[in-house]
């Protein structure tokens, strides 16, 4: 592959971001720019790099976040003109760059302090994770910030390719709402009552306890017969489980039949049996388990230090090979 942005200079202002969520989003966008060939410069303030101490920490005391986002990149002064800068609203606006990508909480203007938990709360992503009377739970890791970073990179890449002299704005709130579009689309298209009813429906997609961990129990109406036959309990043929609507209505009774079957089998047994019937059930795997996962290994996805390559293989058939972007 010829790197897309060879010779382009990109300024990463994540060390000067107004908040941590901004910093993570900006650094993700810059990481992608570097992976696609740009020369990325990331100045750090005299007091040190706030990302250097961000947990999770490795046994040597360094930050796994910094290793993930910054490895293989140059640090240096922000001298000269850049093809693009990505940063918080103020720093990016002031940068000497043709294209200025500004990451903010709500878009151009005021940029109040905001956490990723707050972004999930305000965008409805948290309420999408509420069920069973328990407090809704955030998504693991840094999803709101990293997703905004992906959006910022796309805006940056398109502007760089076109040679734009412009500003591009990425709002972390808008990005989170964009990801959670079905919630607000339901309000806009079907009305508030329909949206409330949808939110109140028992969740038929969930994790289920297996003998050695959990699996994701995920299926559509068309998968029901296969799932029913997989579990093999005659009670599942009762009329109260015949349709998607009736299964939702009788969810507690259904779960009482399904749960013991899952609990009696290992994740591998469940997955093999489900996949043989093309039911989209899969094991819940921890990051530690993913280090030896056969699919990731076969595709060379993780380095010896656990660092993932980009989730992309760039295939060149002419040379008969697949090349990965570092």
């Amino acid at each position: 592959m010829t790197p897309a942005f060879t010779g382009r200079r990109v300024l990463d202002l994540s060390a000067f971001a107004p908040g941590r969520a901004h910093a993570l989003a900006i650094a993700m966008a810059a990481k992608l720019a570097a992976a696609f060939g740009a020369t990325v410069v990331r100045p750090v303030p005299p007091g040190g790099d706030p990302m250097a101490a961000l947990p999770p920490l490795l046994p040597d005391g360094s930050s796994a976040v910094a290793r993930f986002l910054l490895a293989g990149r140059a640090e240096g002064p922000a001298d000269g003109r850049f093809d693009a800068a990505v940063g918080g609203f103020g720093a990016a606006t002031a940068a000497d760059a043709a294209l200025r990508v500004r990451v903010s909480v709500f878009g151009p203007g005021d940029d109040p302090p905001m956490t990723e938990l707050g972004l999930m709360a305000l965008s409805g992503m948290l309420s999408a994770m509420e069920w069973g009377g328990r407090a809704p739970c955030r998504l693991g890791g840094h999803q709101p910030a990293y997703a905004a970073g992906l959006a910022a990179f796309t805006a940056l890449a398109a502007g760089l390719r076109a040679g734009m002299r412009d500003v591009a704005d990425v709002s972390m709130f808008d990005t989170a709402c964009w990801l959670n579009w079905k919630a607000t689309a339901t309000v806009a298209l079907k009305g508030a009552d329909a949206a409330r009813a949808e939110a109140a429906r028992p969740r038929d997609w969930r994790t289920a306890r297996a003998r050695d961990g959990h699996v994701a129990l995920v299926y559509m109406a068309k998968d029901w017969a296969a799932l029913r036959d997989l579990v093999g309990d005659p009670r599942l043929h009762e009329p109260c489980f015949a349709t998607q609507a009736s299964r939702v209505e009788n969810m507690a009774a259904l779960d009482a039949i399904l749960d013991p079957w899952f609990a009696a089998h290992t994740r591998a047994e469940i997955t093999a049996a489900a996949q043989a019937r093309r039911v989209p059930v899969g094991p819940v795997l921890t990051p530690a388990e993913l280090l030896t996962d056969r699919q990731h290994a076969a595709r060379g996805f993780l380095g010896p230090d656990g660092a993932p390559r980009l989730p992309l293989r760039w295939v060149s058939y002419g040379a008969g090979e697949a090349r990965d972007v570092a």
Partner: protein
């Protein structure tokens, strides 16, 4: 009906880029929509026997006449695209698509692995025939590997990609986002669009297109990159509920759970997210849609006809977020698209008479 273009058409950073969209549901179709939002022209290709499953939805039935044009979620996602309906299992339909691809820059697809090849459209063949074409294949597991054919929805990938293990209460079960979010199907679009734009930039330099093999499971794991690195160093993070993943309480050896300074607390009948120095209400969908920030943002926009439409997560000073056209009815752009690809009128008419180019499906609604 193909709705009239607005003043926004014909500009933007991807002006002049032509995309053939074989993307279904969200992962494929919304990736193409983002390219459209950047100024590309997008032709969505379906078949009379192979509709985007989003066209089936509970709000429409066979009694609605053209039910296939009534799906609100389909129209929401596919606004602004032209619609070409060709039977690709018929050699004449396939030949017509090849003519359209001659003028295309990008092909986006997220069929089940093997389906594209069954049409004679395997990426290696396409790359040889159209060396400048950028082919983006978005799949659950990637193009190869022992689990290539593992059937998964987005929430399955949350489990197999590592996200579910880190989501959920510290003292409870891991959690997935479920059918209304299907998080990996959403977030892949943001990455795929950037990767496609990068491949176009590389092509500008070399004249060579590319085949992009995008695995949603890999993306799900990639977005937990620091956790993979920590696990490899022998310091895996526990599931920590609403605890801040980058705060001391979330570290091994310390008390996981709701103590690291970020938490979600009861607030009357609802919930409130609380962190040191601030808090925010946990909004439900109705509260989000009614909020000032949402109304002033870009996540949901309106077509020129006033229909709600999927918005976009970025905007430029010279290219603001806006929707120039509504959705096209199935096959509404058959003639214009095929004529622009150089097919003579009599050939197009022959395709229509044979039902190879169509404006209605061959089946009734599934729901």
């Amino acid at each position: 009906m193909s709705r009239e273009g607005g003043p926004r058409e014909g500009g933007g950073p991807l002006a002049g880029v032509r995309v053939v969209d074989l993307g279904w549901l969200t992962a494929g179709a919304a990736s193409s929509a983002l390219l459209l939002d950047l100024g590309a022209e997008v032709v969505k290709v379906e078949g009379p026997g192979a509709l985007d499953p989003f066209r089936d939805w509970a709000g429409a039935g066979a009694a609605d006449g053209d039910w296939w044009n009534r799906s609100a979620f389909y129209n929401f996602t596919n606004r602004g695209k032209r619609s070409l309906c060709l039977d690709l299992k018929d050699p004449r339909g396939l030949a017509a698509l090849m003519r359209v691809l001659e003028g295309a820059d990008v092909l986006v697809e997220n069929y089940r692995r093997g389906v594209l090849a069954s049409f004679g459209l395997d990426p290696a063949t396409l790359r040889r025939r159209f060396p400048r074409l950028v082919i983006a294949s978005i799949s659950s597991q990637g193009e190869d590997g022992p689990e290539r054919d593992m059937v998964s929805f987005g929430s399955t990938l949350e489990a197999t990609g590592g996200l579910a293990a880190l989501t959920g209460p510290a003292d409870g079960d891991p959690a997935v986002t479920g059918r209304n979010v299907n998080y990996p199907d959403q977030v892949v679009c943001l990455f795929a669009a950037g990767a496609i734009v990068s491949a176009l930039a590389a092509r500008d330099a070399t004249g060579e297109g590319a085949h992009l093999d995008l695995s949603q499971r890999e993306l799900t794991s990639f977005l937990l990159g620091e956790e993979l690195i920590a696990a490899a160093a022998g310091a895996p993070s526990p599931r920590a509920g609403n605890g801040d993943p980058a705060a001391p309480g979330g570290m091994p050896g310390e008390t996981p759970g709701e103590t690291p300074g970020e938490t979600v607390e009861r607030d009357g009948a609802g919930w409130r997210a609380v962190w040191p120095g601030g808090s925010a209400p946990v909004r439900d969908a109705v509260a989000v849609a009614g909020s000032e920030a949402f109304a002033g943002g870009t996540a949901l926009l309106r077509t020129p006809d006033g229909l709600p439409a999927k918005g976009m997560p970025f905007r430029y000073g010279t290219w603001p977020a806006a929707i120039a056209r509504g959705p096209s009815d199935l096959g509404a752009d058959n003639r214009a698209t095929l004529a622009a690809a150089g097919l003579p009128a009599e050939e197009i008419e022959a395709l229509e008479r044979a039902g190879v180019a169509a404006t209605r499906p061959r089946r009734g609604p599934l729901l």
